[in-house]
């Protein structure tokens, strides 16, 4: 099992004819992902990796049933692509673009919430259920990271995800589904929103979250644990615990968090809720073991 995507998910690729789109489409297919259609304006009629390309999402839907859309679209065109996809009633969208304008992302988040849709990204590698399917740009062939297993993994970071996941794998675990929610200030999807899916997924025995400074996503996870929305074991690793504070954004950042919001504050909140927080990446797998999480 897995959450959000598996080998049955029929995926549309927007921006499939671009260099990056075509490259990762090939890898998505190689992993087993059902890529059924592609979209690039004015490239309709071509094929990429055997996948038919259409001019619009609407056109693609005339010929295919589609469950999810993967966007390889430049950051400034992402809002348009997300809105096009949502207008076609596709409710699962992954967008990896790094550099989406903030106000566009606000509109995307707002619109996705209103449509009860899930937009994962931007500024992420996407989502992968190892050995089943992926929507994104993960080098799934690196087997000391992308190994199938029963740990749900969520992350705000890129390189740190590899670091931590490799340590989870080293300890004999693997991932059911790994979700990069992305490093932008306004991610399309937040950690806590995915927890009910992991909770419901029988295969997922525990969740690892990889967090960092800023925002309130880790605190929301702590709340979800407190409110018993998520009851499985949860281990967190957060980077930047000892890092100096960056230049603040006016007073607003401090006001929003009521003077909290440091990595240590996040760690305190998670621990108070009953989560375990690893001090270094290599501890993550050990803590899972310590919690008695089975390896298979």
């Amino acid at each position: 099992m897995s959450i959000v995507i598996d080998q049955k998910t029929r995926v549309l690729i927007q921006g499939i004819t671009g260099k990056e789109g075509a490259y990762w489409t090939e890898h998505m297919i190689a992993l087993g992902t059902q890529v059924v259609a592609g979209v690039t304006p004015n490239k309709g009629g071509q094929t990429v990796c055997g996948v038919p390309v259409y001019n619009t999402v609407k056109d693609a839907l005339k010929h295919h049933s589609i469950d999810a859309a993967m966007l390889f679209v430049p950051p400034r065109l992402t809002k348009d692509a997300v809105f096009e996809t949502l207008a076609s009633n596709i409710k699962t969208i992954v967008t990896i673009a790094d550099g989406i304008p903030l106000h566009d992302m606000i509109a995307i988040r707002h619109h996705a919430l209103a449509q009860q849709a899930t937009v994962i990204g931007g500024n992420t590698s996407g989502i992968i259920s190892p050995e089943l399917a992926m929507m994104g740009s993960f080098p799934h062939w690196i087997d000391r990271v992308y190994k199938k297993g029963n740990i749900g993994i969520m992350t705000r970071s890129g390189s740190l995800t590899n670091e931590v996941t490799a340590m989870v794998v080293k300890q004999g675990y693997g991932a059911s589904t790994l979700i990069g929610v992305g490093g932008d200030p306004v991610p399309g999807t937040r950690f806590a929103e995915m927890l009910p899916l992991y909770e419901a997924d029988e295969e997922t025995k525990a969740v690892v979250i990889i967090g960092e400074l800023g925002g309130t996503m880790e605190e929301e996870v702590a709340d979800a644990i407190k409110q018993k929305i998520f009851t499985k074991p949860l281990v967190a690793f957060l980077g930047g615990r000892t890092a100096p504070k960056g230049q603040k954004m006016g007073h607003a950042g401090a006001i929003i968090t009521g003077g909290k919001g440091s990595v240590q504050d996040k760690i305190d909140a998670l621990e108070a809720a009953g989560a375990l927080v690893a001090k270094k990446p290599s501890q993550v797998g050990l803590l899972l073991e310590q919690l008695g999480v089975p390896k298979h």
Partner: protein, 374 residues
């Protein structure tokens, strides 16, 4: 991208938010004429992008010409490089209000933050009496509507006739927020004068870094740097901070770099510099190493675990950089990820001994920096 106070206030003025009379000067010579135009008492404010200027002595209230000229001289002579000063009329203040608009990431909305108790201690208030700070989300598809601005002003305790001018200021500030694709617009303090008018005492505008292409006028704002290394890093677009420790970091990915930072501190080491050459910069190993070498350090620690940022490309870049720059200190590499085996081959061919475990690499670096290991 942060704007200087004077730039923020220019945007306020454009949006019809009242600002004090002022003249900006870039040299001490210009002070006398400017002071004459503004008159006394006045406030002399260093135009720098850092916060906490008041507490750092970078804002001076002066009543006479001699004290004013003295303040101008002191500020221009300040060890922090101050490119310009804003000389501004002093306002006869009755009350200070806090007003800002930022982003509510969870709701996907704009968020107005406001308090009737503005001023320099707003963060203390936020920590100690958070209920005194109003949070009002705004749907950016609909935009801010006048009734919302009125509600905020009433909730702050402003009834007629001030309600109208405060509400208008909030609406206008929202206009700035939207027009300039801001991540933050802030007026703190917003002065209520003794004659019950409203005037922006300070101004912060920070334009979203992903939207600066629409606002290129401000792209040269970051012009004062602590060192040549900082300047070079800025020009290369490489995130970089200088410290006074022993280990120079040259890592890829913000999350991984800050984690290495933590691990070094935990292991009793100290950091000479933070440098992150991941993402779009992963082919800039040469530039990254040049910046690192410009900072005194005992060892350079390179840690990467790239996916799109290919390990072999970064390894080759490092090998080329070593060949060209001939670093005068040991270099530890821990390069993993896409095409990792090719990376190992490249590094080993160049005589390096690649490591594969971040924590091991950190311990080695700390030990070498302490002179315990060669």
């Amino acid at each position: 991208m942060k704007l200087y106070e004077y730039q923020a206030k220019a945007l306020f003025k454009e949006a019809q938010i009242a600002i004090p009379n002022s003249v900006r000067i870039e040299t001490t010579d210009a002070a006398e004429e400017a002071l004459q135009k503004v008159g006394y008492p006045c406030v002399i404010k260093a135009q720098v992008l850092t916060g906490g200027r008041g507490k750092a002595g970078l804002i001076q209230f002066v009543k006479t010409k001699p004290t004013a000229l003295e303040a101008v001289k002191t500020l221009f002579d300040h060890p922090v490089q101050i490119p310009s000063l804003l000389i501004e009329e002093a306002i006869d203040i009755d009350q200070e209000v806090y007003l800002s608009i930022t982003v509510d990431a969870a709701a996907g909305k704009a968020l107005v933050l406001a308090s009737a108790e503005g001023g320099v201690d707003i963060e203390v208030l936020a920590a100690e009496s958070p209920e005194k700070i109003l949070r009002y989300p705004i749907d950016i598809l609909i935009g801010m509507m006048p009734y919302q601005a009125r509600e905020i002003a009433y909730d702050l305790g402003f009834n007629a006739p001030l309600n109208k001018s405060i509400a208008q200021t909030i609406l206008r500030l929202y206009h700035v927020f939207i027009t300039y694709h801001a991540e933050l617009v802030e007026i703190n303090p917003l002065f209520i004068t003794k004659s019950q008018t409203v005037i922006a005492g300070d101004g912060k505008v920070s334009i979203d870094d992903n939207s600066t292409h629409w606002h290129q006028a401000y792209e040269n704002n970051e012009t004062s740097f602590g060192s040549e290394a900082e300047k070079k890093a800025h020009l290369e677009g490489i995130p970089f901070i200088e410290f006074d420790g022993d280990i120079g970091l040259m890592c890829a990915g913000a999350g991984l770099t800050t984690t290495v930072y933590d691990l070094i501190n935990d292991a009793g080491g100290s950091i000479a510099n933070y440098l992150e050459f991941g993402g779009p910069n992963y082919k800039k190993a040469l530039q990254a190493m040049e910046i690192c070498l410009a900072v005194p350090s005992k060892v350079i620690l390179i840690v990467t675990f790239g996916t799109i940022a290919r390990a072999d490309v970064m390894a080759q870049g490092i090998v080329d950089a070593i060949e060209k720059l001939k670093p005068n200190r040991p270099i530890i590499t821990c390069i993993r990820g896409t095409n990792e085996q090719e990376a190992v081959n490249i590094l080993e061919s160049a005589g390096l001994k690649p490591l594969f475990d971040t924590e091991e690499a950190v311990l080695l670096a700390v030990s070498m920096a302490k002179g315990e290991t060669q």
